[in-house]
Amino acid sequence: MSTITVTPIATYRTDDPYPFCPGCGHGPILDRLNDAMIKLDLDPARIVIVSDIGCSGLSDQYFATSAFHGLHGRSITYATGIKLANPDLEVVVIMGDGGTGIGGAHLLSAARRNIGITVIVMNNLNFGMTGGQHSTTTPEGGVTSTTPHGNLEHPLDICATVGVNGAAYVYRGSSFDQDLADRFVAAMTTPGFALLDIWDLCTAYYVRSNKFTRAGMEQSMRSWGMEPGLLYERTVAEYAVGYRQAHASIAGMPVAGPRPVAVDHEHGLDRPMSFVVAGSAGGKVRSAARLVAMGGLRSGLWAAQRDDYPVTVKAGHSVTELWLAPDEMPLTAVAKPDVLAVISDDGYAKAGPYLAAMAADDLVLTTPEFADVSTEARVVVLDPKAAPKRIPKTSLGLVFLAAAVSLTGPYPLDALRQAAGSGSFAEVNLEAVETGATILDQ
């Protein structure tokens, strides 16, 4: 007699029996997933089963693969992170219909991204673990513990939702399908996002409450317009691979690091000096303060600017507090500015506390419309209309700050000219600095 060598069938299952109710479809679905893994002959360590909460979330413990058992409805997010970090892994999400509700945004986004994961939805039309409550997929009229008089909501068509939003592979079937393992294989070998909406019977709840049967389920799919079968199949670029390709050209480029400013001027400060510009958002107040700070750095000063503005980008106030200091200083609010520039109605509305705190040796620079501000400080009115050239609103902040630098002399104007001339909008900024330097003479 010849010896027959029998190769034991490899399995990705552990020896433990499933914990599911008699007649539940979850076990057969998992058996078909096991068959698919055997067909693919994958290294169990390279398979990550990602599950979340509900009866479906018990699944991962019965496989000898790697697993990530996370929070309700979030399995797709973990799976996305795993696949992004290591595109060589085979990432399979097992979730329930419950997860398509609480995690609906993730389902949509994963399909749109075409992240290369396979999502198996064990869709038994209700929440089984928590007592048979209705879910996104409970049919209209379906009786559950939270729709005792019949469900009033339209059931979610999971497949159509991910299908019209770009998913690479979309299949609807049931736990009774004979070729389910092949469908799993096809899904797992498709680059991009694959989803299988697998209907099954919840014998504990939905079947009991609705006299639901296999035949009824299969008939229902069609009568509700949710045809079974392979519904979408597309050739797409898998996201994790696509991300790497899209960024290959910048890989290895140096990360933006500190670029110290050259110091080629001397400053004139022996104590910290504070400037506040009270203007309008969209008026380049922050940019102007930044240039004045850069002029300070070019003169060996320390600087800091604290910007205040509403959430709107180009409407409302924009108030910047700017410190120039001969020595390093901790960040503090400006309680009493040495110089306050009030350049718009929005700014004026915010300037009250500064104006009230200022003293006789402080300086307020403003336009003719705010000439009568109430303050102890010296008020110098600059009339933009008297300038030889029209001053754009977006230059007013820099014009006033240049005038302030010129008047109070924390550092030479040449340092500000250099700062203004070396960045974006150099021409406009240089013109603003010159206007600020000469406007005082007019």
Binding site: A67, L71, G81, D88, V255, R306, D307, Y309
Partner: protein, 375 residues
């Protein structure tokens, strides 16, 4: 200026940029976040910079997805960070618990803004100091670091990565709108030197062990060696769900002990103690600026005062506090909330008076206000 004087080497930069650089220099390879003022600067910088070092930066569909992706990526070997503000931390809450339970190292940046709810998106506050500590169910410890300047933003971000690896837990970098968005001059030589702390890994065996004295087990990585599991459920050392009370206790005690019994490795303060002072200023984050300036002004006026700027907010730096409290009769705690950290000081203060200097109006605490409270 004499020719032999060292020319200053200063840049003009904000805290968000420093956080980004600190993360990348500490070996961050994965970032996911969702746009939110005032944390968006970190998201945008990460999208721009991280691919340069071969990393991945994602804008999630929401905050929950963002932290979820970080957890998945971390278990596949990445060093992950996310950044948000108070509303986003609210949405992170459950996944922070998963990071605690699954012992997943991640860095979570909270750029605080004024709350509650939407609050003030562009308005400074320090209202999350208790929230980040107790922001997930169960009350288990996390680590929270708080920078008070741009160089600290850089250094503490890197430190957060180091501690996340060391303790396999979420580490928060608690900053705020002003520290993250204020531009300031920084001496480029003032940045601390940081390095990549390699993850301690193994490629086989149980993913967890509840060692005595709270030591942590080396990490596993998906795809490397044998299969392994992670679960958010109460589990044994193999990450299998258990209700065995002995195993349940061992797990939960471990999650506490691994941090509480190693407080000395986490404590970080900037102590500026003056012998003979009877008042101690305890500050953190953006308010430390005014506190430091107040200390300088008080000493100029001949008032003796000590200062402790706390960088490791949680666990409470009890050793440093105890040392600083020597001879102190009064503790003054300025903060942009109504006394959230002050209550921790009251806990360690004994019979000493504990005073707060507080604001919740969106403006900063001034130097004069702190000086006034001390005098």
């Amino acid at each position: 200026m004499t020719t032999d004087a060292k020319a200053p080497r200063r840049e003009y930069v904000d805290g968000a940029t420093a956080i980004t650089r600190g993360a990348i220099d500490a070996g961050c390879t994965f970032f996911a976040g969702y746009p939110i003022t005032p944390a968006s600067g970190i998201l945008m910088a990460m999208m721009r910079e991280l691919p340069k070092v071969g990393g991945i930066a994602m804008q999630g569909e929401d905050e929950i997805a963002s932290i979820g992706m970080c957890l998945g990526a971390a278990m596949a070997g990445a060093k992950a960070m996310t950044a948000t503000s108070g509303p986003g931390i609210s949405l992170y809450s459950e996944n922070i618990g998963l990071a605690v339970m699954g012992e997943v190292p991640i860095v979570v940046v909270d750029v605080q803004r004024l709350g509650p709810a939407t609050g003030g998106a562009t308005t400074v506050a320090q209202g999350d100091v208790q929230f980040v500590r107790w922001g997930t169910a169960g009350g288990y410890p996390v680590i929270v670091l708080a920078p008070s300047s741009v160089p600290e933003s850089y250094g503490l971000t890197a430190k957060a990565f180091e501690l996340a690896e060391r303790f396999r837990c979420p580490v928060f970098l608690l900053t705020d709108k002003e520290i993250a968005m204020t531009l300031s001059a920084v001496d480029v030589d003032e940045y601390p030197t940081v390095g990549v702390v390699d993850r301690v890994e193994k490629n086989g065996g149980l993913p967890y062990s509840w060692k005595p004295a709270g030591a942590v087990e080396p990490m596993r990585r998906y795809g490397d060696g044998d299969p392994f599991r992670l679960t958010g459920s109460t589990h044994d050392e193999g990450a299998y769900i258990t209700k065995d009370s002995g195993k349940v206790a061992a797990l939960n005690q471990h999650l506490i002990a691994k941090i509480e019994e190693h407080r000395d490795e986490i404590e970080m303060v900037d102590a500026d103690l003056e012998p003979g002072a009877d008042t101690l200023l305890v500050s953190y984050g953006v308010t430390a600026g005014a506190a430091r300036a107040a200390v300088a002004r008080l000493r100029e006026e001949g008032v003796m005062v000590s200062s402790l700027v706390v960088q490791s907010l949680w666990p409470i730096p009890e050793t440093s506090l105890t040392a600083a409290l020597e001879g102190i009769e009064r503790i003054v705690v300025p903060e942009l909330n109504m006394g959230l950290y002050r209550r921790e000081m009251e806990r360690v203060a004994g019979n000493r008076a504990v005073l707060g200097v507080n604001r919740i109006d969106g403006t900063m605490i001034t130097v004069a206000e702190i000086v006034g409270a001390v005098l």
